[in-house]
């Protein structure tokens, strides 16, 4: 029975590992299915968070298209155009919900077939990808608050002294340079962020295209927009206020797609856009905002929580196993035989490189390199969730390896010596004596790492993994209740991290064992003394 207890921590690790393998297996099979399907599916990349061009909704109403790898749907002007093209190509269409910055690498690395996301063909972009003819002719505007002094502006000159911004890597952000005396604030990642910034008055306005103005006017009664395409407005090439479809260089479908677009006159474009503005998600807040958010988006939030927990649990568990293995290897005493010594030194060197690289670079960069880079350079096409799980695991492994090494070297030298003197091998010492103590000492640091993982997996939105933060920005993009939505999200994060802290406290207590011990007693001593005369 004593031995059983001792083995239990190893079996827990084994169990976690098994869970990971099964999880990885399921993802692998879903990935295989996706790969089989992708031969036929026309996969279109867009943010699905930029109404009225594209947005996310929860059902297939109004001719929405499924979003790959989720049970959500995308709709909007871009989606309607995508459907026309897919119909002509004779392929079913699906949307790959992708961050704006991730669209170009997703296309060049073959993760998607086309970008239909309100993208303007600029010379820089044309260096890496091809563009079709325009599918929407737009106008440049600045969105401002109705009650601000810029609401009455007519020309660029009127924006002197205004704090303005635009979306990162867009034509619109560059246009701010044309406004003399305006303060060009740092660019923002997406339209949700800009809308929040405008509502909270941290900016006076943002440069966008006309449909965004329609959209904001519907969604936010306090917002209005100034059209700056005419006289005294922005000066720009005709192509710079056009939206076109991005394709990989020399895509054979380009001619077909162009012919579809040629049958989309301005009047038809305008009709589709008006329809999109009408159909875009509306805020339906009648009562308590908190209940509203849960009623409308409860399912999405739960899936976001699930994904965040999956990433954090698998990442921490696998990272822990990696950390343990590295801890064992790095503390092997220098062998007597030369060849073995060289081999050990080489392995140790490799492990140091691994730790330095993954501790020394941000996880967001690792994710982008791994997901887009691997596909672009080697043609390895992993699905998002698998990539995310791998990145979180090896990133956590690098940290936990050092934490566990610290736990091992903090153990009294006498423990090693006594075990060595009894004839135990390095592995036996580690397994029975050292690691149980090192792991116990490392638990506070592992808890930390777990909590960091819950929060920091939000950076994986770069590869469009729909964890909690990504879900939150999607919801905020739909309901325009930025403050309330992000408040809800932060509350969920807080509950998760707090719960996990408590759970690990309990584990710590359990590992410490009981404070008192039973003396081994014989039956004679155990027997309750009988008091005479009673």
């Amino acid at each position: 029975m004593y031995l059983k207890q001792k083995r239990s921590w190893l079996s827990i690790i084994g169990l976690l590992f098994a869970v990971f393998v099964i999880a990885a297996g399921t993802f692998h099979s879903s990935q295989a299915q996706a790969a089989k399907k992708s031969k036929k599916v026309f996969l279109v990349g867009m943010e699905a968070n930029y109404p009225p061009f594209n947005w996310t909704q929860q059902d297939a109403s109004n001719g929405a298209v499924p979003i790959q790898g989720s049970n959500l749907y995308a709709n909007g002007y871009d989606v309607q155009v995508s459907k026309r093209i897919a119909k002509r190509l004779g392929r079913p269409v699906e949307v790959a919900k992708t961050e704006w910055d991730g669209l170009l690498p997703a296309l060049t690395s073959g993760k998607i077939d086309a970008i239909i996301a309100g993208m303007t063909p600029t010379p820089e972009r044309e260096k890496t990808i091809d563009f079709t003819r325009a599918y929407y002719n737009s106008k440049q505007i600045i969105v401002v608050n109705k009650n601000s002094k810029y609401a009455k502006a007519k020309t660029l000159k009127d924006f002197k002294g205004a704090k303005l911004t635009g979306q990162l890597s867009t034509v619109q952000y560059d246009l701010i340079k044309q406004i003399k005396g305006a303060i060009r604030e740092p660019a923002m990642r997406d339209f949700s962020s800009m809308r929040v910034a405008l509502q909270s008055n941290t900016i006076d306005g943002y440069v966008a295209e006309l449909p965004e103005g329609y959209s904001m006017a519907v969604a936010d009664p306090n917002a209005t927009y100034i059209n700056l395409s005419g006289k005294g407005g922005f000066v720009l090439d005709k192509t710079e206020s056009q939206e076109a479809i991005g394709l990989r260089k020399n895509d054979p479908n380009k001619a077909t797609i162009n012919s579809v677009l040629s049958k989309l006159p301005n009047s038809e474009q305008s009709r589709l856009m008006q329809q999109a503005v009408k159909e875009q998600p509306q805020t339906s807040s009648q009562g308590n905002w908190f209940i509203d958010i849960w009623q409308q988006y409860g399912g999405m939030l739960l899936r976001g929580i699930g994904m965040t927990l999956l990433l954090a649990i698998v990442g921490t568990a696998v990272g822990f196993i990696i950390g343990l293995l590295i801890g064992i290897v790095r503390t092997i005493p220098a062998p007597k035989k030369r060849l073995q010594r060289y081999l050990i030194n080489f392995v140790n060197w490799l492990l140091s490189v691994y730790i330095e690289v993954f501790r020394g670079t941000p996880m967001i960069v690792q994710a982008a390199v791994f997901y887009y880079g691997a596909a672009q350079a080697f043609g390895i096409n992993l699905d998002r969730t698998t990539s995310a799980l791998i990145i979180v695991s090896i990133n956590t492994g690098a940290y936990l390896a050092e934490i566990i090494r610290g736990g091992i070297i903090s153990i009294d030298q006498g423990q090693f010596e006594a075990a060595t003197a009894l004839g135990m091998t390095h592995f036996q010492q580690m397994n029975k004596i050292v690691l149980p103590q090192a792991v116990r000492n490392s638990i506070p640091a592992v808890t930390n790492e777990f909590i960091v993982n819950i929060k920091d997996t939000s950076v994986l939105s770069i590869i469009s993994v729909s964890e909690l933060f990504f879900t939150g920005s999607t919801i905020a993009g739909q309901n325009f209740q930025f403050f309330h939505t992000y408040l809800t999200i932060s509350l969920i994060y807080l509950i998760m991290t707090f719960t996990i802290t408590r759970i690990f406290r309990l584990i710590e207590k359990k590992l410490n064992g009981p404070k008192n011990y039973d003396l081994m007693t014989n039956d004679f001593q155990i027997a309750t003394p009988k008091i005479a005369g009673k």
């Binding site: 031995l3 010596e417 006594a418 003197a421 009894l422 029975k432 103590q437 064992g513």
Partner: protein
């Protein structure tokens, strides 16, 4: 009469960097004898003991165990260590295991005994050192004397040919010392080979078959307990023993 040496040490040297701790040690240990190594701090007693169990690697020389050189790279160190027990000054009980598990773990991992048998043997050894009631206690819950008893039981559970004791009572409160010495005395009578580094001169005199006086990395004098304690020849031995006898 043919001598039956369990250990033969020849020209043993050990340096830590520039510092030479053991300078050309020659020593023979007979099977079944109780050998005590005495000497002032820094004379190399503990280092010699650690070299004998390969916790420290000798720089030069030979240590023959039953005729085999244990410093040979192909020598099976694991098997040797299982046969040669060591009791430490600081006890070094495994902190994550209780008294019984401390005595079981090496039996099952190194000797590959089955758990039930190992547990039975461990209980017997713990009983022998008077720790029967405490088998479930963790090291942190035991006193120094109790820990050292468990450490001795842990070594005995391996059925060793020889036990090395490295100042086993130096870290104990004075009232704990006698109990440990009694256990060692009992062990000495079983015919087990024991090598003991100690500052307990009275005890060394009582139980030793063979006393070695070390000074500055060399064996300054050796002989029977009677010879060394009653009529030491080397002036350094005399000086050392006088300091101790004065204290007694």
């Amino acid at each position: 009469m043919e001598k039956d040496n369990i250990l033969t040490i020849q020209h043993l040297k050990k340096s830590f960097g520039q510092h030479e701790v053991l300078k050309d040690i020659d020593l023979q240990v007979q099977r079944g004898e109780v050998m005590t190594i005495i000497g002032s701090s820094g004379s190399g007693k503990s280092t010699l003991l650690r070299c004998l169990n390969l916790l420290d690697d000798a720089t030069a020389g030979e240590i023959l165990y039953n005729g085999q050189n244990i410093l040979d790279p192909n020598f099976n160190r694991i098997q040797y260590r299982a046969k040669v027990g060591m009791v430490f000054q600081q006890f070094n009980l495994f902190n994550n295991l209780n008294a019984l598990e401390n005595c079981v773990v090496a039996q099952t991992t190194v000797l590959k005994k089955n758990p039930a048998e190992a547990e039975k043997n461990a209980l017997a050894q713990l009983e022998k050192v008077g720790m029967g009631p405490y088998v479930k206690a963790k090291p942190a819950q035991l006193s120094g004397g109790q820990k050292q008893r468990v450490a001795i039981a842990r070594t005995l559970a391996m059925s060793p040919d020889m036990i090395l004791f490295d100042e086993p009572t130096s870290a104990l409160d004075p009232e704990m010392v006698d109990g440990i010495l009694d256990i060692m005395k009992d062990l000495a009578h079983t015919g087990l080979t024991m090598i003991l580094v100690t500052h307990e001169m009275g005890f060394a005199r009582d139980i030793s078959d063979h006393v070695v006086f070390m000074d500055q990395g060399v064996i300054a004098e050796q002989g029977s307990a009677e010879q060394i304690f009653s009529s030491p020849k080397n002036p350094r031995t005399q000086e050392f023993l006088q300091r101790y006898l004065k204290r007694l």
